[in-house]
Symmetry: C2
Subunit: 229 residues, 2 copies
């Protein structure tokens, strides 16, 4: 397994849960619908927003309103931190302190680069939609020039990233094993309901297979498929 | 609706999605399994970890290893930022830029107080387990003195908190409505699988109803029930 790329990405608590392999990192970033973006505000306090991201090869893209307070803070070369977490199970131990969760999380540090090249901007905007709903961009209208101007896109490399993963049953000590209580894991996953059509939808248009059969991608799936040629 | 408690909690983008009502804030914090905790590291860079929280009345508790790097940074009076987000749906518009998500998120700013009073520590530790699995603490062993020493608990008040909520269909402009493409919302929710018993579970012990019938609490449910008397 590769070593941590920097001290701040090193997993210190439960180092056995750390994974610095890009395959593990990419799979988590690709499956997670959103990430949590932190930066240090003008007043020196930490700020967080949830936001949509997409990984394209070695780059993570995030976007937002060009007028946004958040994104203004990203323009001046400050370090940002992005984190994405998937919850896989609730771990029920035989004592309160050993309760836990099975999870997969990624933390990325970097200095964001504002994307200004028109081709990269187009690619990233499509990739952001495809990250959430693969197959969607082939069917919908592209942004107008005005809409493009209203959106700022930032890129962060994955050079400084790490994953932390917990799997498996609770780890009760031997002296707790005879307790007369159920112990184990309750699996957690995302599920999708019946598609709800827009009230203004033209009658007769049915939801496409990428909606009715929606699922998150498997580990390592190529998110650029159909976007870059 | 109450006004924002501070400028940094004010929702600037889509202010119509802001909600400063404690009922809305509490419901999101109570339903979310985890939150995302940001602080400014010693080197001045933003840091984030996912962590388990619990709201008890006007206070949010988080815990961690007493030896943790994160929690050491919380002891010196620095401001922290906590954020929790629930995703309710994928919003499929007729153009790429109007794609969105239905979500409910909360952001809290505060200066953490380390909890040292033994009664408050006990209450908060039980509340943290009950937040994840209501009903569990009545059945399992309490922490030993050594385990208690290994855990640090911090409290943040909800005085400076805000919610941001998006609901409803995509908001396509009139000129896009005739597009021959499905538009609407794909609902997203958390689902729970079959409980997986620990390999070391005594044969014959079946999962309790709070596991087989697991669900997240409704809005406003009292998380202290059965913990404080």
């Amino acid at each position: 397994m590769p070593d941590a790329p920097s001290e701040r990405t090193r997993i210190r608590r439960h180092p056995e849960r750390g994974d610095y392999d890009r395959g593990a990192i990419d799979a988590i970033l690709d499956e997670a619908l959103i990430c949590h973006l932190a930066w240090v505000g003008d007043e020196g306090t930490p700020r967080i927003i949830p936001t949509i991201h997409v990984r394209v090869d070695d780059t993570l893209y995030v976007h937002g309103s060009a007028a946004s307070h958040t994104l203004r803070g990203m323009r001046d070369g400050r370090t940002i931190c992005l984190e994405a977490t998937l919850i896989d199970g609730l771990v029920l131990a035989r004592s309160t302190p050993l309760h836990s969760m099975n999870f997969r999380s990624v933390v990325v540090y970097g200095t964001p680069r504002e994307v200004t090249d028109p081709a990269e901007r187009d690619m990233a905007q499509l990739a952001l939609v495809e990250h959430v709903v693969p197959g969607r961009t082939a069917e919908v209208r592209m942004p107008t020039r005005k809409e493009l101007k209203e959106t700022a896109i930032f890129a962060v490399t994955l050079d400084e990233s790490s994953a932390k993963i917990r799997t498996g049953p609770p780890m009760d000590p031997d002296e707790d094993l005879s307790a007369d209580v159920w112990a184990g894991v309750l699996p957690v996953h995302a599920a999708y309901g019946e598609p709800v059509p827009s009230p203004d939808l033209t009658p007769g248009i049915v939801p496409p297979p990428y909606v009715t059969g929606y699922r998150r991608p498997n580990a390592g799936e190529d998110r650029t498929r159909g976007i870059t040629s």
